[in-house]
């Protein structure tokens, strides 16, 4: 082994034993450090996983959604629009969507009622999301009564419950037949909520959207790539906000670390004095202290990160649920795709290890320049 490596090994050995000797003192710091890593790491892993999830799941969303606006407000779109879209080249498929919200006073939740295109649902039946099934205690074959726009109660038989695997997108869905939907909301035939378009060549999406706005000036197109982009930005933004809020905690931790590092006990001071007197150089002491910081940081980082990992992926971010949930009754139960991302880890590193190290540089140096002859006085 090269000499310098042996030297580092000796320093690490020494610093490890000196850390263990002062277990009680270091445990407090380690605990706070780990907690900081845990909190920031949880936020990071959680938002990152949601971003990934949104990106992966919404890949299947329609390329373009076209909404009609009346006086700037979202309005129903007549079938004649659909026909006119047919003349735009590059549009592979166009489908009028029927969907809307329904507020259920019994559970105080908003449902999303929707008419599926690719599956047929009988007139008196409904397919519900797992969230609704859970909240209302419904299972396949149960009956469910809603009050329609005309005040008449409508009873539906639950034909199926959507798989709980897709809860993150389907928790609040009620799939009903077109007839029922129109009757229930009082929407005349020939009117749709909006239009979903499939485009053959993905490179043409923008061009087509532009043509559509010229062709149908009262509509607005929403592109899938924009949805993805916006979700990406929204989650990154939200993570950033939480980080900004937590900067206060990081600062408090930095002050704590600084205080710990500069408030050496008389015993530690004496130790450094002895080391210097028996032949350790200032640089050796700095390196020794550096290894001490590195060991503490490594331990805190690993433990904190693992704890965050378990929290986010195995307890499904239980600590965040109340915040995200808000007043939502239909909060989806979901498990996220575990990912470890270099960028995220590096960012976390800069929010935790970097400030800790900065806070300890000057105190370490101060300790290291102890006069070697101090022990003789």
């Amino acid at each position: 082994m090269p000499t310098w490596l042996l030297r580092q090994k000796y320093l690490i050995d020494f610093t490890l034993s000196s850390l263990l000797r002062r277990r009680a003192k270091n445990l407090g710091l380690l605990l706070v450090y780990t907690l900081i890593v845990f909190v920031l790491g949880s936020v990071m892993l959680f938002t990152h996983a949601l971003r990934q999830e949104a990106a992966a799941v919404l890949e299947g969303a329609p390329e373009i959604v076209l909404q009609r606006l009346v006086a700037g407000r979202h309005d129903l779109l007549p079938a004649s629009h659909l026909e006119r879209i047919g003349s735009v080249r590059g549009v592979q498929k166009k489908e009028g969507r029927l969907w809307g919200y329904f507020y259920d006073p019994a559970t105080r939740a908003n449902y999303t009622l929707m008419v599926p295109h690719d599956r047929t649902i009988a007139g008196g039946e409904v397919v519900i999301g797992a969230g609704i099934a859970r909240t209302r205690g419904l299972a396949r074959g149960d009956f469910y009564t809603l009050r329609g726009q005309d005040g008449q109660p409508q009873t539906l038989r639950v034909a199926d419950v959507l798989g709980s695997g897709s809860e993150l997108v389907s928790s609040d869905l009620m799939l009903v037949s077109e007839d029922f939907f129109r009757r229930f909301f009082g929407i005349a035939p020939g009117l749709y909520t909006d239009v979903a378009l499939t485009v053959r060549n993905p490179n043409e999406v923008r061009k087509i959207a532009e043509k559509l706005t010229l062709l149908l000036p009262d509509t607005r197109p929403i592109l899938r790539e924009e949805i993805l982009r916006t979700y990406d930005a929204v989650f990154a933004w939200r993570e950033g906000i939480v980080y900004v809020l937590l900067v206060g905690a990081v600062l408090a931790f930095v002050v704590f670390a600084w205080d710990k590092a500069s408030g050496l006990s008389a015993e530690e001071r004496r130790e450094i004095g002895i080391l210097k007197a028996i032949g350790w150089e200032t640089g050796d002491v700095i390196r020794m202290k550096f290894w001490e910081g590195a060991l503490v940081s490594l331990t805190a980082f690993l433990v904190g990160y693992l704890a965050a990992y378990v929290h986010v992926y195995y307890s499904d971010a239980a600590l965040f649920e109340p915040v995200l949930k808000g007043w939502a009754v239909l909060y989806p139960r979901f498990q996220l795709l575990p990912t470890i991302d270099g960028l995220q880890v590096a960012t976390l590193f800069f929010f935790t290890v970097f400030p800790y190290t900065v806070a300890t540089i000057v105190p370490i140096w101060r300790a290291a320049i102890t006069d070697p002859d101090a022990v003789m006085r």
């Binding site: 034993s17 004496r270 080391l275 050796d284 002859d373």
Partner: protein, 224 residues
């Protein structure tokens, strides 16, 4: 051979409480001798000893080791010289609590980066020589005063220094242990070491194993 030429040392220089601890000492110390710096407390023995042992630098004057000037060297290089040339035995022994006897003995060798096996063998041999073999794995808090001092001596010897510096070595020992210490000093001289002591204990400066006594008072040498 160590030569001191008009060495002076000030503390708190340039401030109102400026204090000259050493006020012009010229002295030559030969190799393989036992020399005692004798004087009342505050006479500058310890300050002089720390400058000779490269623990601190003189404010003025020169110190030469084998003809090489040490006094102008920055701390980094002084440490280098100190590590290889001097072994220290302190009044309070200054062992590091919580570490074993063996680890304490090996400490001065850590920054050199010698292979662990060789270092451990050497440290164990030293401990055997000073009858501490069985206590190698003990923690230093459990040692008696005499054992603690012998551990400190082993530690001073681990890097194979030519010169041993001991500051008031017998201040915390009873008469019997002080005599034991002086016989260790005799043995060290017998194997070719130079020993430099500071003391105001007659057991030390009147000991038959001492070659030379340097009397100090108020930062000056009054008799050598």
């Amino acid at each position: 051979m160590i030569e001191l030429r008009e060495v002076r040392k000030a503390f708190n220089q340039g401030r109102t409480n400026e204090f000259w601890a050493i006020r012009g000492v010229s002295l030559t110390l030969e190799d393989n001798r036992v020399t005692v710096l004798k004087g009342p407390s505050g006479s500058g023995k310890t300050t002089l000893l720390s400058m000779i042992g490269c623990l601190s630098r003189p404010t003025e004057g020169r110190i030469l080791l084998e003809g090489r000037a040490l006094s102008g060297l920055p701390e980094r290089f002084l440490t280098e010289v100190r590590r290889r040339t001097f072994g220290f035995i302190f009044q309070q022994f200054n062992l590091i609590k919580g570490l074993s006897v063996l680890e304490n003995v090996m400490l001065p060798a850590y920054p050199i980066g010698r292979p662990r096996g060789a270092l451990e063998t050497e440290a164990s041999e030293l401990l055997e020589r000073f009858a501490l073999g069985e206590k190698a794995r003990y923690r230093v808090e459990w040692l008696s005063g005499g054992e603690a001092q012998r551990t400190a001596i082993c530690r001073a010897l681990i890097n194979g220094p030519r010169i041993l510096v001991a500051d008031e070595p017998t201040a915390n020992l009873d008469t019997r242990l002080s005599r034991d210490f002086m016989s260790i000093v005799r043995d060290l001289r017998a194997v070719g070491k130079t020993v430099l002591l500071s003391s105001h204990d007659p057991e030390v400066y009147d000991s038959p194993f001492v070659d030379r006594v340097v009397q100090m008072r108020d930062g000056r040498v009054t008799d050598c």
